[in-house]
């Protein structure tokens, strides 16, 4: 559905004396039905990439297409569900009116508008805020309103930029369910986030940008973890040092260590420890696989 070929964007000052390459040579194909995550440090080019996908900016190199068309033409014809990083709506609009406007502009059939607006209000927990003006909403509520307007119409392209920014932990969890519910064949969902844990849970693949370049496309759940693991025992055990000679103590209890090693050696150590009668409370990679890929991609171990 989305094809990026050598996509680049360089911002130039009005007199063209200064140039900043925000995006450089990004090539990527995103098929129908995929949830694509976009990760990267601040200034990596995530928001520029999103603006290019929506046709709000023109590339200075390469090209982007959606179903073979330039993004601006495609979006003006079909529209996209879009949550910007900082949702901006006129302060005097009422929350329910903002959704009603979104329904009209998104060409939701007249007979279906009221039902869709009501469903979105309920789904995003906005019932008690529907009559409030946008300027009266808290950050988290405004973010939920932003999500509601993005998901109101059944667009084939949904782009969510930092969707859990300002949400409380309950709504952050709920957001994951929402993405799962929104996933369907024929639709692409793009989620840009600093929260790698969130991307690991919702995305099929994660494009990692760094200084405008696409450094890696990682599939969560695959790839190396970086080789560091945490082991926590129910109580300190004398066999621990022998099972994992290089283990580094954590927390001073004597029951928790961090261990570096290859899976085969670690399995052998763990087996020896269990045979010696130790009770293992927890064993987990110190970094998620996506986090390891991210650190490697941005050159930080």
């Amino acid at each position: 559905m989305i094809a990026l070929e050598g996509l680049g964007k360089t911002y130039r000052s009005p007199l063209r004396r200064r140039a900043v390459a925000a995006l450089d040579g990004v090539t990527l194909a995103v098929p129908d039905g995929e949830v694509l995550g976009i990760a990267g440090p601040n200034g990596a080019g995530k928001s520029t990439l999103i603006s290019l996908l929506l046709g709000f900016l023109d590339p200075t190199a390469g090209r982007a297409t959606i179903d073979g068309q330039a993004p601006r033409a495609w979006v003006r014809r079909r529209g996209a569900g879009y949550l910007p990083e900082l949702i901006a709506l006129p302060g005097r609009w009422r929350a329910a009116d903002a959704l009603a406007r979104a329904a009209v502009l998104s060409r939701v059939p007249p007979g279906d508008r009221a039902r869709r607006v009501a469903a979105c209000i309920e789904r995003l927990g906005l019932e008690e805020h529907a009559g409030k003006q946008v300027r009266q909403l808290s950050k988290g509520t405004l973010q939920r309103l932003g999500l509601a307007q993005a998901l109101l119409a059944d667009h084939a392209l949904v782009i969510l930029d930092e969707p859990t920014h300002g949400l409380d932990p309950l709504w952050t969890q709920r957001f994951r369910d929402v993405v799962r519910e929104e996933r369907r064949p024929g639709r692409v969902i793009v989620v840009a986030s600093h929260n790698l844990d969130e991307l690991e849970r919702v995305a099929d693949r994660v494009a990692i940008l760094h200084r405008g370049r696409l450094e890696r496309v990682a599939a969560p759940g695959t790839g190396p973890t970086g080789g560091w693991y945490r082991l926590r025992l129910a109580a300190p055990h004398p066999a621990l040092a022998a099972a994992f000679p290089g283990a580094e103590p954590v927390g001073g209890t004597g029951a928790e260590v961090r261990i570096h090693g290859e899976p085969a050696a670690l399995s052998a150590g763990l087996r020896a420890l269990l045979e010696a009668g130790a009770v293992v409370e927890a064993w987990y990679p110190e970094r998620s696989r996506l986090e390891a890929a991210f650190r490697e991609a941005v050159g930080e171990q």
Binding site: L57, V75, G79, G81, Y82, A88, R101, L105, R107, P110
Partner: protein, 236 residues
């Protein structure tokens, strides 16, 4: 009415009414109050004189109010992301907004006409006055529209149009008094919107010049909206 612009027209009209409409309502309301309190002797001069005076004094400021920040606020505040991530043509969206601004100016005139009529001044709205107002909207409003579309920084669009308006009328006044001006000023006077031609002595040639110039400004703004991306930067 499944989509834009028809189905959204009521929302846009509401935005105009609650924004520039408030200023227009105050201006028209103050005029109506003044007319209501005028002595009978002043009314004897005729409603047409009152209306001409009203349009000369508040016509062009109303145009600035009705068209000011027409595109720029949406871009600088980021509202355009809400509108134009949907299947909406920016050129059509802002053309409708521009026309609603004209409807607002006409509504302010209608209030003035009704106020004069209520005092027994008659409903004598000359077509010439209406034509002059329409040309002012097209030329002055068109200038605001184009500046609003083309710029995201610098002075406000209505202020730029106001400065052009003042400049053109001042230079025209100086030239008519035989003042010898720098060639650069004469050149600027010749290429800038001919707002000085919309005065009392407006003739057919003036109307044609102003009308074509104004239509060109509006067309240029629409072309920019259609061809140029709306974002200035990743988060703009």
């Amino acid at each position: 009415m499944t989509g834009y612009p028809a189905a959204y027209l009521a929302w846009q009209a509401r935005d105009v009414a609650r924004g520039p409409g408030l200023v227009a309502a105050i201006v028209a309301g103050v005029f109506a109050l003044l007319v209501w309190r005028l002595p009978e002797a002043a009314m004897a001069a005729g409603g047409g004189v009152l209306l001409t005076g009203y349009l000369q004094q508040v016509g062009w400021p109303l145009v600035l109010v009705a068209t000011g920040e027409i595109v720029r606020t949406d871009r600088s505040e980021g509202y355009y992301r809400f509108y134009f991530s949907r299947p909406v043509q920016p050129a059509l969206f802002y053309l409708v907004r521009f026309l609603l601004g004209f409807a607002l100016v006409l509504a302010a005139v209608a209030v003035a006409v009704l106020a004069i009529w209520a005092r027994g001044g008659g409903l004598d709205l000359e077509p010439r006055l209406l034509g002059q107002l329409s040309l002012t909207y097209l030329l002055l409003g068109g200038t605001v529209f184009l500046v609003s579309t083309a710029t995201t920084a610098g002075p406000r669009d209505w202020l730029v149009a106001l400065l052009v308006h003042v400049f053109q009328n001042t230079i025209a006044e100086l030239l008519s008094n035989g003042v010898d001006l720098w060639p650069a000023l004469r050149w600027l006077h010749a290429i800038l919107p001919p707002m000085h031609r919309l005065g009392a002595g407006l003739d057919g040639a003036d109307a044609l010049h102003a009308g074509l110039y104004g239509a060109g400004l509006v067309a240029a703004a629409l072309l920019l909206l259609d061809r140029r991306p709306l974002g200035g930067g990743a988060r703009d």
